[in-house]
């Protein structure tokens, strides 16, 4: 981007030089410098903001992960450089494999259901009917509740002995399930809660995406004899592709780092049954009385890397979409 802009600018400058006298060129240069300074003045707050709140924390996180911090070296700040040994230790840790698998399952299953249900609801509510506004508003409730509240409520509802879900299962003659305390079900339980929380976001974005599709197209398709199913797969879905892509990417970034719901409901347990990378990072850094900041930062950086990889995949997909 900068290279092209520079080329454009110098082209203009050469053009000027040929046509104008020296004093006017100097005046112009001064004015341009002034304008440039003003521009930098406008940009400075943004750069300072990015530096203080994004670049420095990121730098610290990488620094923490490349040094071997103990408690006393955290205080004195003279931790020895450890190269990639923290990363090697993390990859060899018996918690790494389950945490990675859980993160993958949690992220992809969450997004698949959130997106599918959100899209279905958006299409459903796109046909305005009586009370549709109120119903749509009701679907937004999970979004408005503080995560602490919704996660605590889910954990009460899914309690093995006194939860409403198990009371219901028993009432209809089924075996109660140890939702939060069995290694088989813990991940499913947090998935259900997370899907429920993520549906409104998908619903809102896909609904606004639907509104940007011209009704003429649907009308034309209907005249040509396309049924509802065909209209969805041949028109709605392809035209929603750009919106879908950004929804999925945002969903991915949000879901990769989900922490509060899992921590409140299962604390990553039992054992490592619902431990994701985000939970593990917290456990290492703050879960015990003796914090291990280096390993926590290492796991955090692994998560960031995963997000960046998916962002790049998204960008490739976008550019291919635009060239075709």
């Amino acid at each position: 981007m900068t290279a092209e802009r520079f080329k454009a600018r110098s082209a203009v400058r050469h053009g000027d030089g040929a046509a104008q006298s020296a004093p006017s060129r100097a005046r112009r240069a001064r004015a341009r410098r002034k304008a440039q300074l003003t521009a930098w003045g406008f940009i400075a707050p943004v750069i300072a903001y990015l530096g203080i709140f994004y670049a420095y924390p990121l730098y610290r996180n990488i620094d923490l992960s490349l040094r071997s911090y103990t408690l006393s070296s955290f205080i004195t700040g003279d931790a020895p450089f450890a190269g990639l040994s923290n990363y090697i230790n993390v990859f060899h840790n018996p918690t790494f494999a389950p945490a990675l698998v859980n993160t993958a399952i949690f992220t992809f299953v969450s997004i698949a259901f959130q997106f599918a249900i959100g899209l279905a609801l958006a299409v459903f509510f796109f046909k305005t009917f009586r009370l549709s506004g109120i119903l749509r508003a009701l679907f937004l409730v999970p979004w408005l509740l503080p995560l602490l509240v919704s996660a605590s409520t889910w954990s009460w509802m899914l309690n093995s002995d006194s939860g409403i879900v198990n009371s219901f299962l028993q009432a209809v003659g089924m075996q109660p399930i140890d939702w939060l305390t069995s290694p088989k079900w813990a991940l499913v339980a947090v998935l259900i809660a997370n899907i429920w929380i993520g549906i409104p976001f998908n619903l809102v974005i896909m609904y606004s995406g639907l509104q940007s599709i011209s009704p003429d197209i649907f009308e034309a398709a209907a005249i040509d004899g396309a049924n509802g199913w065909q209209r969805f797969w041949r028109i709605t879905f392809p035209l929603l592709r750009p919106v879908s892509a950004i929804t999925l990417l945002l969903g991915l970034v949000y879901t990769l780092k989900v922490f509060d719901i899992i921590w409140i409901m299962t604390r990553g347990g039992p054992a490592t049954a619902s431990t994701t990378l985000a939970i593990w990072s917290y456990q290492l850094g703050f879960g015990s009385l003796l914090p291990d900041f280096s390993s926590a930062a290492t796991v955090g950086n692994v998560l960031i890397l995963i997000a960046v990889v998916f962002a790049l995949v998204y960008i490739r997909a976008r550019s291919r979409l635009e060239t075709t």
Binding site: M1, P57, L71, S160, V253, G269, F286, A296, L303, A311
Partner: protein, 423 residues
């Protein structure tokens, strides 16, 4: 060009978005130093002394806050008290230590003392001149590392077995007969037979879970340096069998000490393992208390809970004298007795305990429980304790949920703890 440029802009935008969101979310977890503490600058010598405690429930008008400022006045200084949540206080203390602005006096949970001391943040009694004379050595234990003492306890609490007399009477169980694991398990069977629930405890995967498991662990004769010993396996098998046989609810895997207490308060449970801090609530529901039995009879050693007064390292070493004066004012004589009565603690000195029992005879069982209690970081474990404890609660979780047998869960815990300690 415009298409390309806008695509590139989007590329950078999307990458920044992803990195930015993740970084913002994660640095809060890992960096720490960037999120600056709301610490007050530590004044030293005369003027204002800072004091942090983990009692946000006590406001400025409470008796505790008034005692703090009164002790400051007696030492000729003003004390500025800042309360934090217990877990937040540990992080705050570490960050303040890193920034070189620790408070003058810090009241901190006892297993954290060894952590802060090994980080070089605390002064020993030899440096600060605090007297530990009459304090019971088993309670002081959490503050002793390599022969040096790094603080004095404000009070002690511990665990015991609350029971519901109505349920035991209905099940025809004599509480006095429960002196061993076999007797307790037999009692649980009788309680289940009349349709009531047996026992509730906190088997969660946090420090609370280890705290609650230790009486059984130590009661079997196991040692924290060897968590996969046959004794340790016996203790974990006791818990898992209770869950499997329906004597303990499955929810203990998730229960904190608070939620486990709420279950006991429903009146459906015969027993609840819980702490001194619940004794007032226990009295209102008519619950009584017995010592946690050891495997083969007698009372099991229980872990001590409670905070320690510590004096963090300051640039101005002259401030230690006044800090020590304030601490000894708060931690001795009638002050500590009235403080510990409000906090539901047992006084760490014999004279204080006598004063407490003569005022309220129901405390005598707690005084004897505290008498046999052990510090978690004792036995010179120090900072090895947090590592072992984390592996221990993980093993407890695995066994409780059926993800592994007690023996294999504890064997994995032992090898993980050894690896982490030797790292």
């Amino acid at each position: 060009m415009t298409v390309q440029r806008s695509r590139k802009a989007r590329t950078i935008g999307a990458a920044l978005l992803a990195v930015g969101t993740m970084a913002a979310a994660l640095t809060a977890c890992s960096s720490g130093s960037a999120s600056s503490s709301a610490s007050t600058s530590s004044a030293s010598g005369g003027g204002t002394y800072t004091f942090w405690d983990p009692y946000p429930q006590y406001t400025a008008s409470s008796a505790w806050a008034q005692l703090v400022s009164k002790c400051g006045t007696e030492a000729g200084v003003t004390v500025k008290r800042t309360p934090y949540d217990t877990t937040a206080l540990t992080t705050q203390a570490l960050l303040a230590g890193q920034q070189g602005n620790s408070p003058n006096i810090l009241l901190i949970d006892n297993p954290v003392v060894s952590t802060l001391a090994s980080a070089g943040l605390l002064t020993s009694t030899a440096q600060n001149g605090l007297s530990t004379g009459a304090i019971a050595s088993n309670i002081l234990g959490a503050g002793v590392i390599n022969g040096k003492t790094y603080g004095v306890p404000i009070g002690a609490n511990t665990l015991a077995l609350y029971y519901n007399p109505k349920i035991l009477a209905a099940a025809k169980v004599n509480p006095a007969s429960i002196t061993s694991w076999a007797a307790l398990t037999a009692a649980l069977a009788k309680v289940k037979a009349i349709g009531k629930k047996g026992i509730t405890f906190s088997g969660i995967n946090t420090e609370e879970g280890s705290f609650q498991f230790l009486p059984w662990f130590w009661g079997a004769g196991a040692n924290l340096t060897n968590v996969d010993s046959p004794q340790a396996i016996a203790a974990l098998t006791l818990w898992t069998t209770w869950i499997k046989d329906g004597y303990a609810p499955n929810s203990v895997i998730q229960d904190t000490q608070t939620t486990s207490w709420q279950e006991f308060q429903t009146g459906q449970f015969a027993f609840g393992e819980n702490g001194t801090w619940q004794k007032t609530l226990a009295a209102t529901m008519g619950a009584k208390v017995i010592a946690i039995p050891a495997e083969n009879g007698g009372a099991a050693p229980v872990p001590t809970g409670g905070e320690f007064f510590t004096i963090p390292v300051q640039k101005n070493t002259a401030s230690y004298a006044a800090s020590a004066k304030i601490v000894s004012c708060m931690s001795s004589g009638s002050n500590i007795v009235s403080t510990d009565n409000t906090l539901n603690y047992i006084v760490p000195t014999q004279a204080g305990q006598q004063a407490q029992v003569s005022a309220d005879s129901s405390l005598s069982s707690w005084v004897s429980a505290v008498g046999v209690a052990k510090a978690r970081t004792g036995d010179n474990l120090g900072t090895k304790y947090p590592i072992i404890s984390q592996q221990l609660w993980t093993a407890v979780q695995k066994a409780e949920s059926g993800a592994a047998s007690p023996a294999s869960a504890l064997a994995a815990a032992q090898s993980a703890a050894t690896a982490a300690i030797n790292k």
